[in-house]
């Protein structure tokens, strides 16, 4: 009798915990204390005959605030000497256990300065709250986001005047493309990742991701125009550094688009 009672209770309790656990276990990332973590470091370089130039952007409104000199697109920020690509998000994909996310003291912010987003690309872990302060520009910015995939975070469109701000919590992994409807050249990317294992390359295309639990992982590099490159089966050893380098080149145009251009031309 007693055993039956215990058994029934156990069954019932485990059913309940499964149900509760299922609701909370959304992205499968578990924060643990990482012992003897390894790291990956490397560079992302551009491959191709001609290095794309940073396109010049004419400031056609609010010159007193945005500055009258032309700006330069940050779509391709490629080092002329070593061909390093800046603003590439390198990340470990599908990692289930690892370090806790280190939220910066001032939080995640994407301010607008002289009608330009700074930084051009930022990466945040899923669940992060990002703020969009406008402390410098004495003009209204109309911050309009587009999200991908469509069932990740919801897009938003908010007016931010001088000394205004607003915040958004990005719960799901995906891409958020930030634009301004008034100053149409403004562009930034917020990459929401499912783990805190990401890094953004610097002006030499270099990156380093630290404190990774030893194991074998998939590493991905993403650039807004050059797309994604993936390297599978990268082994991280305890307290060791694994070198991972990426080469990105301009994508092939798909056949369908080729035809369309020939007809138009």
């Amino acid at each position: 009798m007693k055993n039956m009672f215990v058994a029934k209770t156990l069954v019932i309790v485990s059913i309940i915990s499964l149900i509760i656990g299922f609701r909370g276990y959304v992205y499968g990332y578990e924060e643990i204390d990482v012992q003897d973590g390894g790291s990956i470091s490397g560079t992302v370089k551009f491959v191709g005959e001609k290095i794309p130039e940073a396109k010049e952007i004419t400031v056609d409104k609010d010159k007193e605030v945005c500055g009258a000199e032309p700006k330069h697109s940050e779509k391709f920020v490629i080092n002329a000497e070593n061909r390093g690509i800046r603003y590439v998000v390198v990340s470990i994909e599908g990692i289930e256990k690892g370090k806790k996310a280190e939220v910066p003291a001032e939080g995640y912010n994407l301010p607008q300065r002289k009608c330009w987003f700074e930084p051009h690309v930022m990466a945040v872990p899923a669940g992060a709250t990002v703020s969009f302060p406008n402390n410098i520009d004495k003009v209204m910015h109309n911050l309009h986001s587009y999200t991908m995939p469509s069932d990740s975070n919801r897009p938003f469109n908010k007016g931010v005047p001088f000394e205004g701000t607003f915040s958004v919590t990005l719960k799901k992994p995906g891409l958020v493309k930030m634009t301004c409807d008034v100053h149409k050249w403004m562009l930034a990317w917020i990459v929401v990742k499912d783990s805190p294992y990401y890094a953004i390359t610097d002006e030499n295309g270099s990156f380093k991701i630290e404190n990774i639990p030893p194991g074998t992982y998939t590493v991905q590099a993403w650039q807004e125009a050059l797309g994604r490159r993936v390297k599978k089966d990268i082994t991280i050893n305890a307290s060791g550094d694994t070198k991972v380098d990426f080469k990105l080149k301009k994508k092939k145009k798909r056949k369908k688009k080729k035809k369309k251009k020939k007809e138009a031309g």
Partner: protein, 573 residues
């Protein structure tokens, strides 16, 4: 005792399980029956615009501006929820019940019962996961809509907010949708979109009450460049702004079809700014797209022109006023779309040919060619990005039409004797028409004597016949200011060319019609908005002799009556 405790314990656990399971299932009441019934209605009445899968890509969608709602992307304009959040069921009900004026979405109030409308809504909600995501529950993200009363300072305060929130940047100072940011805006489908002209009440898609106006900029209109100001303007500021915007909204009376030309002594006003124009009222002429001849134009820009007229003993003048967001004074004949095959719908208008793409074309290599790092391709995997579709996006380059703005007044060459008029669209053979075509680029050209070209037409199938230079007799003067054209056209009442020019006569009803082209909208040639025949009447003052004769007549009769009475009295005696 043990037994009791055991039963209680298991009972509580049982209840816990039931509660957990119930909470875990969907929160919204979407019974399968409603959805099934809704699908039947959708598949009968909605799919040809909204598409079989609700993507807003039905067979007629490409002819409509704005496009039908895409329920899969699920960005809704008219809601009471925060930016990015789904609409409530009530919001969707209102759309079905009232329709969306100014678009192809009709009111379904007469066509569907309320029960049926509920069913369709439940089906529509199945197209996107946002309606079942508990994080996006619209009831938890409602905006505050508590109206405040109108006071003496509200309008002035609202005007301040209009400046502070920089509404004029898109909507213009007077609200005609002609702000400096108005050009080059696109919606989330990369289709061209324009800021609302706030002065035209009939263009508002979701009501013109102060509450409706307040809701729009509090929630923002998802999928468009219209943002939400909920974070950075207080509720009070937004109510003040709503009251102010309401003062800009005007409805116009379009019931009058007779344009009375007022007789004045002395010279006629030559310019639009002459104060004498303020002394007469205008007639509001409604315009619609020209759909009789190719290219059939379903999306005209100008839907209203206000007309005033004056004449003296020698000349007649017209003042024409209409809202046009952009002053188009450059013209390239090559761009005229005579056959209607040059991108007449928006879907074809959008072509992406930015300079950057041309750069890519140079570097394109043929299939089968070896790439530089072909040796590395075994190690790396290059994945085609289907999910992260952003990278594949070509830059949005909206069509840049180089076409002038223009307006034409059309008359029959002869004032008809009876009720039969020439065909309202460029006449017909046997009943020619005479047009005075004012062109914005000619107005700017110092070498041209007049910005008006007179021509004749005998039906839209025949080419127009421009009158020779010696026969051109119409003068004009025009200006464009803050989103509005004002054009004066003036000509002598009679001309030498009796056959080709309209000869004006007082007191008669003369057919008159209008054609308008908005260059920025790609309008030129037969692609235009036009009106049907209205009637022009040169008012005659009643001659003074009419009054004199009436007075004499009245006096004569009065005297006669007196004499009759006197006579009958004397007879009695």
């Amino acid at each position: 005792m043990n037994m009791l405790i055991r039963i209680l314990f298991q009972g509580v656990l049982g209840i816990l399980i039931i509660a957990m399971v119930t909470v875990s299932t969907q929160v919204f009441a979407q019974t399968d029956e409603l959805v099934e019934a809704g699908k039947k209605i959708f598949d009968k009445r909605c799919w040809f615009c909204h598409g079989r899968e609700g993507k807003g890509d039905g067979p007629v969608a490409e002819y409509l501006v704005p496009r039908p709602r895409d329920f899969v992307t699920a960005l809704f304009k008219f809601r009471v929820t925060e930016s990015g959040y789904p609409p409530t069921d009530e919001n969707l009900h209102r759309t079905l019940k009232e329709g969306v004026p100014g678009t192809a979405m009709p009111s379904f109030e007469g066509l569907l019962e309320e029960e049926e409308r509920t069913q369709v809504i439940q089906y529509i909600k199945t197209f996107s996961t946002i309606f079942t995501d508990p994080d996006l529950d619209p009831q938890k993200h409602l905006v505050n809509i508590e109206e405040i009363p109108l006071t003496a300072e509200t309008i002035a305060k609202g005007k301040e907010v209009y400046k502070k929130a920089e509404c004029f940047k898109c909507h213009g100072e007077a609200g005609r949708g002609n702000g400096e940011s108005a050009r080059g805006l696109a919606d989330q489908r990369k289709l061209p979109i324009l800021p609302r002209n706030l002065t035209k009440a009939w263009k508002f898609k979701r009501g013109t009450t102060v509450k409706d106006i307040y809701t729009r900029f509090t929630t923002g209109m998802d999928g468009t460049p219209m943002p939400s100001f909920v974070d950075n303007l207080t509720d009070e500021e937004r109510w003040h702004l709503s009251y102010y915007v309401k003062t800009l909204v005007r409805d116009v009376d379009r019931s009058e079809v007779v344009i009375k030309s007022k007789y004045i002594k002395g010279d006629l006003p030559a310019a639009p700014d002459d104060v004498r124009w303020d002394n007469i009222g205008s007639i509001n002429v409604g315009l619609t797209g020209q759909v009789l001849a190719k290219p059939r134009w379903q999306i005209p820009s100008v839907d209203l022109v206000s007309v005033k007229s004056m004449y003296n003993d020698n000349e007649i003048a017209f003042l024409l006023e209409w809202d046009d967001r952009f002053k188009d004074i450059k013209h390239d004949e090559e761009m005229i779309d005579l056959e209607g095959d040059k991108e007449f719908t928006y879907v074809k208008q959008y072509t992406s040919t930015s300079a950057e793409d041309e750069e890519w074309e140079d570097e394109e290599y043929e299939e089968g060619e070896e790439t530089e790092d072909a040796g590395e391709s075994e190690e790396e995997e290059y994945e085609e990005d289907d999910e992260y579709g952003f990278e594949d996006e070509e830059e949005v380059v909206l069509p840049q039409w180089i076409l002038r703005d223009s307006i034409a007044i059309q008359f029959p060459t002869k004032i008809p004797d009876g009720p039969v008029k020439p065909h309202f669209f460029l006449g017909n053979s046997g009943s020619p028409v005479n047009l005075w075509h004012w062109k914005a680029d000619w107005q700017e050209d110092p070498e041209k004597n007049s910005a008006v070209e007179e021509y004749n037409a005998t039906g839209f199938k025949n080419p127009i016949k421009v009158q020779p230079p010696e026969s051109q007799a119409t003068d004009s003067n025009a200006n464009w200011n803050d989103g509005r054209w004002r054009v004066v056209m003036k000509r002598t009442l009679t001309t030498e060319d009796k056959r080709k020019d309209i000869q004006f006569e007082k007191g008669k009803l003369i057919p008159i019609a209008f054609h308008v082209h908005d260059g920025a909208n790609g309008e030129a040639g037969l692609k235009m908005s036009l009106s049907s025949w209205y009637l022009l009447n040169l008012e005659m003052r009643t001659p003074i002799m009419v009054y004199v004769y009436s007075l004499i007549g009245a006096m004569v009769i009065a005297l006669a009556e007196v004499w009759l009475i006197k006579k009958s009295r004397s007879k009695d005696q």
